[in-house]
Symmetry: D2
Subunit: 410 residues, 4 copies
């Protein structure tokens, strides 16, 4: 191999790119774009260190995949080199279909188009360009490769994606309590009946993993301030899109403009390589540059929202256990009107929503424990620890967020 | 105090904002802008973790300042609370005048205007807005405050700026050998004859500090690949500016346009608050969004350079001990012409330069050691270790960098 | 102050001895002895890094005390310098009364004498030697100092003792999942109604703390292999004591001999400074040197047990949810007899016991949370998280441990 | 394999014992003894965390060996599994021949017997017990195995022994500046002309390694306080041996007594398995227990020295560039006499010695760099950095150390 490369990583020390194929994937513009997309979107407004990119996360997940498969080989499971490479390729590419500020942007500009679907379209296009070298990787990604545990390592409760992002997000936010001890977890993995399982003595490690994940949800992913900032960016994009629809000329890079002006479906991506290229040109800079440009726009709703986000004057936000009723919303609405807002503008400055810590969960795929006698049990059954149950419980919260200090024409 | 705030920092754990004034400074749009300016510019093309911002660095330097002054108080040096706050304010603001991709952008768009000077203009404007609450901080920053050691803690060989950036850059690049042990260094600081000095038993720590700094220069700040990327961005901006001068309409945010079209001097900043506002609107996103927009420009020099930088197809680069002569440059020039370049375009694709590891040094301000008998010595004299001499030596290197695989109209 | 000293600590970086009194305490032979007593006794047989001493732990707890009190001062609670020093002195000395292999040795050689009581006797003797300089520290330790929260910082669910030992044990065992984030916890502490409390936004941190503590219990303090080794050492000491009582001459340091031959009560310690000196001469080396000497003793029970422990041929151990009944014990007993043991020797090679994760808990002193509205709630009530309940639950386990491969006269 | 085992290590996370042979070696009493021998002898008197054992160090070196050989395999060097196991076995056992407080004890009790020689005797005895399974390992250790680079990985300037101990000593002392970045170093290793070499881009890493090593010498291994404590222990053993020779009965474990009373040569070890067993029963506890016993001996020289060491009342020590002359020693001698010492006792309380940072170096085996053009150069020649020269320089220091506050019959 002549393209061997070692990349510095504050989290794991070093990441080795171990084959020519993997090297070529990393070099491809599709993958290089991920350098310009932050993993946690707006979270640096709360945790200033949280600037790590999907590029680094994907490399980290590839590293863990290689570590985990090597550990399985040491347990005398036969894993062929082409499988090892394919599994690394699949996890490397698993986030290609993310746009900037993923959930925010997708909800406004690409409703109904899942990022996993775009990822698959892009992987297939790459495979076409690379003459089929990604065939196995795509099978693993789609879950049709005969040995099912590979798919579980790419996408399941214990996949390398999740292990890296929890680890990495904990590291860069500085929320060290969210550290999951990926090293130890990986050493506890085994394969049984073609499934990815955890050996019995790993039960405490799994409990710790679930605990850390839960903590990261409340402390980071669903942090109040972050939800408020996301709500503001959502309203900015919604307003911009409406103004565009009304024929307003808005400052934006050409490709970002294209998405502001159209409603694309997954079929459009599949039929149109050109659209894929446009999508592939989007990154965080398009959004921030537009927000900066729009901060001077004559539409006061748009410019106020943009200026507030740039200067980090974020909306106030409150959580509720139930969807907040009129008695809570009414006084806020009146307050906003008294600050100079029009009725028609209220929806941009008074936002309700709900959130749940199951956003990233797929409970249909429970964690299996291999007991010393060889039987497989669900983690909750395998443990005599009552906390497992509590840890996996989904919590739903409702929030209201409003521009307490916004003043228009006031 | 009612604005006490704690910020997570992967480097130090927590940073405390310890007074209302400091809180108000952090909240100000001048300071919030630093969230969008990466400390190391293009270095993430080499070290993907190096995405930390000047915002976080400034907070970190403030933290070290507070630690260092508390340590000096424990040594029974009298330091008043207003001095403690002022020193923290000064170090917090010391980088306000940096534009995005500092040295690159300044050399093309603001030749002759030092960022320290813009910082001072901005600090004075802030002081005006805050009714003089920054008087002492500005005196310390300018070096006119009576107790000279405060200025040395803000700007000298052992200042808190440098301690934080070496520490932080080492952390985020993953070049852990560059770690300086700021904790220990700070505990070794003392004041003697109104100067910041190091106590004798800190000599090994200083040697380690100089060693780490040197290593960071060669491993990070002057890394070949980084120099190449910086050279490319410099040529991009140079070309964009020339096209603008020729009347071409180039995609750019309004404020970035203003700097592309004009040649401002320091006097312009001092006389024109409006220009300060424009400058304060510049950040990394303006540059990247423009590079992305320009990648589709019809001028092939501009679009080729931009596309190459985005896809990380960087120029090849070689170091030389002397300025490279014609026998080295001629074949490169001929090669480039054979790839389809015109004579007039050569200068964008064949770049020579020099670099030195003294870029950030100010040797006029040597590190003083307080010997056990109370005398002050220069570190080189205080140590019987021959490496100190070697470590402080300035090394100058020359480089040639060229678009080996660039092909225009080819 | 002329005795200022800084001590390196892998856990916190540096520990500062901040006053002459504290320096004199550290220098005293009572405290220096703790250098030779490992914090975790035999745990290095499971975790080879777990060699840290009570000396280092006590310094670490003093460090956290100083950090925590400084943080409370920053919250505008008035804490006098003499109080700060006294609280540090009290936590520094809180483990003086521990013998080597604390729980093992005390159960056999000093039944009924609590180590806290010996600590108090030693603190009073120190106070006598130091002309009353420890008056306040002793009041705080005993819980009679008027401001009650000082005692809580020395001994409660959230005391600095526990914070340091969890942190330190996690660090040196390498069980990093047990890390508690002491930094953040300390910043969440407050005082309300003269009690140590946690502010509302610290609830997740407390949950994390309880989780880490629970994990450390199962993973470290109650690790099967460790329990087995402790049972073996207990039997060694029991046999040695019996042989001594029968007039056998056993190799031992003079002071260790004294304890092997006598049954002392707390009153003996209080009345007899000479006994205190003997106790103060005991450390891990006495026990290990004796075990090594006894490994060659002609009594086969004693020598077999000693040789097995030295070579780490540990007894097999099994956990049970209920006290194991005859049907489990009988076959083991028969097996041992078939290996050549006499009936009278069985009790040394077949040991039952029980263990609970509440060993170190004092549930009478619940953790209080100060809600935003100022009310104080128990942590379980303050949290809407069901895991708190689960985490605080006491689990009791029973074990049988036996010399599976022991062969006497076989 | 059925004996696979994972051991927690705070330094590397986990260490895997990867074969049955390695497992059996770890289980052997020869190796288990290393649990009771601290790597750094008395250094915990200066750095209280420095309690790590030769047991853990040997496991760590085995881990690095495995990492390094795997990395060489990834560079397409053919390394057979039996070679991999043998190299790990050799490094695992390389320190077997160390006694407690190695250099101190050996200089007094075993003058002229090198610990490497005892190691070899023990390896051969193990090989006999294991029916030749250590044949290759012993060849590698002795340097007669055909592929020479294996021996260099066990014993040379860049061996895994040194990499682990620098790393580990830095970690446990808390002198983090001594951290060598073993991960990166290992990735820079290559084989050329059957020699262990470093690739050209690793030059900075080597420089860093040499720098760290030098720092560890002055900061740890040759720390003044440590040298003083070692001198005291040397005098204790010397006095005990003399008293033994005079027929005094001294408290000691049987095996330690044997060494106190005899002068063994290497031949004695080779001819006498029984002596090997006695040697193998020595560990730190024998020495400490004896020092504790002797602290009550009627010989005042012995008891005073022992009591001082136990209470950490260490001799004062001064460094000199030349062997100190009479004008320095005379006043010290007179002072000691005035404190009540007899002429004949002076030599125990006034000690001169010399020390050099080359103690562990073998300059006959320079570090080779493989340049990009394939040639091999010495590191000093390969680097254009003047510090390499300075770093490798041997510095010799002389010291005087004396019992400033000792008072006999005073």
């Amino acid at each position: 191999m002549n393209k061997r490369k070692i990349i510095n990583d504050p989290v794991y020390g070093f990441i080795t790119i171990s084959s020519d194929l993997l090297f070529d994937l990393v070099e491809h513009p599709y993958f290089q774009r991920l350098r310009r997309i932050k993993q946690l979107g707006l979270a640096d407004l709360v945790y200033p260190g949280a600037l790590h990119t999907r590029f680094h996360h994907a490399l980290g997940a590839m590293h863990l995949m290689s570590q985990a498969l090597r550990a399985l080989q040491e347990r005398d499971h036969l894993i062929w080199e082409p499988e090892l490479e394919a599994a690394q390729a699949a996890i490397l590419l698993h986030d290609l279909g993310h746009g900037p500020f993923s959930h925010v942007l997708e909800s406004v500009l690409l409703p109904g188009v899942e990022h996993e679907s775009i990822t698959l379209v892009m992987m297939k296009e790459l495979n076409r360009q690379m003459d089929g070298r990604l065939d196995i990787a795509i099978q693993m990604f789609e879950g049709v490769y005969p040995r099912k545990f590979f798919h579980q390592m790419i996408s399941s409760q214990l996949d390398m994606d999740r292990m890296d992002y929890l680890n990495r997000d904990s590291f860069y936010t500085g929320v060290i309590e969210g550290s999951i001890g990926a090293d130890r977890l990986i050493k506890m993995l085994d394969i049984s009946q073609d499934q990815l399982v955890v050996e019995e003595k790993g039960i405490l490690s799994i409990e710790n993993f679930l605990h850390a994940r839960r903590l990261m949800y409340w402390q980071v992913y669903l942090h109040k301030t972050l939800l408020s900032a996301q709500a503001m960016l959502t309203e900015i994009l919604r307003r911009a899109r409406e103004l565009s629809a009304q024929g307003e000329n808005l400052f934006a890079t050409p490709d970002f403009s294209r998405f502001l002006h159209n409603n694309f479906t997954l079929a459009d991506f599949e039929e149109n390589v050109d659209l894929l290229e446009s999508f592939n040109n989007l990154d965080d800079n398009d959004v921030w540059a537009s927000v900066k440009g729009w901060a001077k726009h004559h539409d006061e709703v748009l410019s106020t929202l943009c200026k507030s986000l740039l200067d980090r004057h974020l909306f106030k936000i409150s959580f509720f256990k139930e969807m907040p009723e009129e008695e809570i919303l009414k006084p806020l609405r009146e307050k906003l009107l008294s600050q100079g807002l029009k009725e028609s503008e209220l929806s941009y400055f008074l936002i309700t929503g709900e959130t749940t810590n199951s956003a990233y969960e797929k409970e249909q795929d429970p964690i299996k424990v291999k007991m010393k006698n060889g039987t497989l049990l669900d983690i909750a059954a395998a443990s005599d620890i009552p906390t497992i149950e509590a840890l996996t419980k989904i919590v739903r919260k409702y929030y209201v967020c409003w521009g307490k200090n916004v003043s228009l024409r006031g």
